[in-house]
Symmetry: C2
Subunit: 578 residues, 2 copies
């Protein structure tokens, strides 16, 4: 075998999409000369593992660069095992598309070199967004842009140099970093987010509020709706972060305000760039130059629900896209159709996940969107390990199409099971009815006979057909803060009397009626049509049954609190009776 | 509201499908008179929870009959809370379809009564198959046909009357009962299965073999390919079970040899019955009489992969079907399109699941079926809780359609996550390529960047396109038992030298070549084309890479052991070096 005569494949970027494409194309065309170029010395690492490296769950950074069979993925590994040349500490300067040449510079020496290609791939990734505020250059202010930063952060913490940290940004990385700092290192950590909720656009209010409540329980100070206005320092070192509302002392600041595609090289080469700055590719991952492919955090992909392009910088997508690049470079016409934005995150003892569109995004996209918020048991309610979970299904009322699903529950794989099943369907145009009959594998240790995803679809069905009328959780919370906001509301609490008693006592029977679920059919004549009854139970299920009965006896003046107290308790309220 | 004028809905059968339909139709038509008839005194229970009740995980049988909010679902509950009449201890004798009347008998008194209906539902369930062998009538021989039997079994065990048990039947209930007897009660338990593997037709050999090995590790004696020939007794009490190969002493015998639909009432009423004895229904769950519906264990449903009718007696399907019956009785044209046979089961510390068709079934159905057997990490391999899992994807080589997925791994929700996601897709005609890009939610605590389901699809892709040649696990095991079965095979073990060393020492270098994965490119000239090289690694992934390289240098005489040693070790072999 002579590699000399093989196709010349050059790949710029060596973290996720790049190495995946390199190894795939090499397997498919063993006579190809495959070269990865990266300006960093460390390549092919699991960037998503950085918070777990910082926390100490992962003890050594080399684990993030190792295979499952414990080989470190360095230049030698790529050469010996994969037959791929990895040129590290090598920066791509420009692309001569006409002559198919990449000009590179060796970072150590400054020496330049021209590398010819037959097929080129851009896997240039993303860079963290640095807020345009004073103080970002101070010592102790970090972005999570690469493994070196993570190593430096961990070194400072392990060296006892960090006692107070501020994380700017309540997205996934911000929350994960807040957990890493708090949980294992005991760093006094504050998380500030400019938007009024955590994980904006990814999940909706009730889910984000449960997450924020859990973070606070675990000792993270969470300030929402507060942008960082300035990073304050002394003698070049960070000392505090000033927001619109307060100044928070800090000797470490993590800026996790999102990432932006690194597309300068593509732009300078005349390739098509999207309005938000990502490289434009087709389904075969070709840029506007058919000899140049792109994948990973530097591109946009099609959202399989909305049909629009969106930016989804995730390692899991980068790998899938990279494989498609490898295939196409080798002449296999694989396609990457797009993504549904599946998301899952651990936060201390809970996890939160989502797929498809959130309600906020769906409304902004123009859908006639609504939600079914449910709080069912995660497995057979008689099974000892049973717990409550919360799911919110987003759907389009007009077409009955399911647009997304969000889940919140105890740490484990139960939430991702439902998110994954939903992800498989939402991109296909599946309806509420498809989700109602979706066949989740059932045995008592794993699910309820009516799985939580089916149950959410049933609720959506009842809402869609106008059989279930409900109020948003936020409306209920506002009313509980101040009854005068809805003077004609009255709670109809249908839980056990031992549960409802303290509420009646605290709020008075003019605000809080207690009629147990199984007595409503016999006692409905005690109810009147004067006020709007907000029917309350633990999960919302019994409330719907009661609403349906009350409607039939002419008492149509009721609204259900979706998700019931299972959601309210998790959001955390100060009016809850002891 | 007057119920007097409402539609008369009669439902025969009060366990799962019946109560679900009853409550749904009542909610939709509150003025309907809904009556459930059941010959038993206990209704609306979670039959799938019986093994966990017997084991003690569920302490009281009433928990199986309770709601998630701790109300027992008895006659009063149905009346007060649901507005549904439940006539227990009432047997349906016959149906006068012309006059729409059901004749019932009150079991206690023998009194008969005619009950008129506008719409009727048959939810008559199933009965256990009783083997046609001597001794089935002996005291101590049980089927798991209802809650009373379970109560009696547990009473005997708790009373110290059971020290040795035989479970006949290696299906799901048999395995769950074997665990229940062994795990908490310490009963010396033997499981006998007529077929050569556990869970026949549900999973294929490697998965079933791993399960059998785990059961044996946990102290269950498992005898496969051994039918129970006779149940032996003394003075009317069981003392032993005789199989084709041995006699096993026992003071308790559980016969779990499958169930059959209870369709006599339907047959006697002239309704259409399938060749296997199930009631025939359309997608709206109507029998051949449009005023009579049927659902649950007494019907057949369409298999959404094969398109053929099959028998799927599962509580989860019964509930979904029951809801569709309720809808249609109320004039909502819901449909139940069919099922994909999703299955999940706990067995001590592991779980095993499946959806769609197994290889055995797919081949029998005439597909050009093959499998991708994989043994990947269940989450990011650097995450502390990482474990190995095994997935087998069944696909059709001609159409690239995925026909099914099977999974085996540690107890938890990780296997069901993949089975559920696959279940959402297999019924839609999804291909290997759809599974390759299926977007599983990714974060290191939950999955690998390339999720195990994507990885299985990648392997299937490589097999389908002829890039990966493999041998079945069973062929490798037979060769290891007796090298003369394949005299021209030689192992090419590419794991670390510290792993391969003991193998070379034990089996000799003429049978066992050891060349580490990352040295093959440099040392391939040491290999010859004389023999068929069986490439061995832990998961099969590296083996494929090596095969692809060897092919490119003209050494096309290799086969990959799919799933590698991760599978072989779990199956349990006695030749494994210390």
């Amino acid at each position: 075998m002579s590699e000399k005569n093989g196709a010349k494949i050059v790949i710029i970027g060596g973290v996720a999409a790049g190495p995946k494409a390199a190894c795939r194309v090499k397997r498919l065309m063993q006579d190809a000369q495959v070269t990865i170029i990266d300006e960093d010395s460390l390549i092919s690492y699991g960037g998503c593992g950085i918070p777990y490296y910082v926390s100490g769950d992962v003890s050594d950074e080399s684990e993030l660069r190792s295979t499952s069979f414990h080989m470190v993925r360095n230049e030698n590994f790529f050469k010996d095992a994969k037959g791929v040349d990895a040129l590290t500490r090598t920066r791509a300067l420009s692309i001569d598309r006409k002559n198919k040449i990449v000009l590179v510079e060796h970072v150590e020496t400054g020496a330049q070199q021209s590398i010819a290609y037959d097929k080129l791939m851009l896997a240039t990734g993303s860079r963290p967004f640095v807020l345009p505020i004073p103080g970002v250059e101070l010592d102790g202010v970090f972005t999570i842009s690469n493994l070196h930063k993570a190593i430096e952060i961990k070194k400072r913490i392990a060296g006892g140099k960090v006692s107070r940290a501020v994380v700017i940004g309540g997205g996934a990385i911000g929350v994960e970093m807040a957990e890493a700092l708090t949980d294992l290192w005991g760093v006094e950590t504050t998380l500030v987010e400019f938007m009024p909720q955590l994980l904006p656009r990814i999940v909706d209010f009730p889910m984000a509020a449960m997450l924020a409540s859990h973070l606070r329980e675990k000792g993270v100070a969470v300030h929402l709706g507060e942008g960082a206005a300035e990073i304050v320092g002394e003698e070049g070192k960070v000392t505090a972060v000033r927001t619109s509302a307060r100044t928070i002392e800090a000797d470490l600041v993590i800026m996790a305000a999102g990432v932006r595609p690194r597309s300068e090289l593509a732009r300078d080469s005349g390739l098509q760039i999207s309005p938000m700055g990502a490289i434009v590719v087709n389904e075969r991952m070709q840029t506007s130059d058919p000899f140049i492919y792109a994948a990973g955090d530097c591109i946009e992909v099609r959202h399989l629900v909305s049909g629009k392009k969106f930016y989804a910088p995730l390692g899991s997508l980068a790998n899938k896209e990279g494989r498609v690049v490898g295939d196409n470079m080798a002449g296999i016409p694989s396609v990457f159709k797009g993504a549904v934005g599946s998301f899952i995150m651990k936060a201390f003892d809970v996890c939160i996940g989502a797929t498809g569109l959130s309600l906020d995004v769906a409304l902004a996209e123009g859908y006639d969107a609504d939600v079914a918020l449910t709080a069912p048991s995660d497995r057979a309610h008689f099974f000892p390990t049973v717990d409550n979970v919360v799911f919110q299904m987003v759907f389009d009322r007009r077409t009955r199409r399911v647009l997304g699903l969000q889940g919140f529950g105890p740490m484990g794989d139960g939430i991702s099971a439902r998110i994954d099943a939903a992800a498989a369907l939402v991109g296909t145009g599946a309806t509420i009815d498809d989700f109602g009959t979706l066949e989740m594998a059932y045995a008592p240790p794993f699910s309820a006979a009516i799985d939580s995803i089916n149950a959410a679809a049933y609720v959506a069905d009842n809402i869609c057909d106008g059989r279930l009328r409900k109020i948003p959780v936020i409306s209920f919370l506002l009313w509980m803060e101040d009854f005068s906001t809805q003077p004609d509301w009255i709670a109809l609490d249908i839980r056990h009397l031992k549960e409802t008693g303290p509420f009646v006592e605290k709020f008075g029977s003019e605000r809080w009626l207690a009629v147990p679920y199984n007595e409503v059919r016999a006692r409905y004549r005690e109810l009147s049509a004067d006020k709007t009854m907000i029917i309350l139970c633990d999960a919302g299920t019994r409330s719907f049954e009661i609403q349906s009965f009350l409607d039939s006896v002419g008492l149509r003046n009721s609204q259900v609190l979706s998700g019931g107290f299972n959601v309210v308790r998790r959001i955390g309220v100060d009016w809850y009776p002891e």
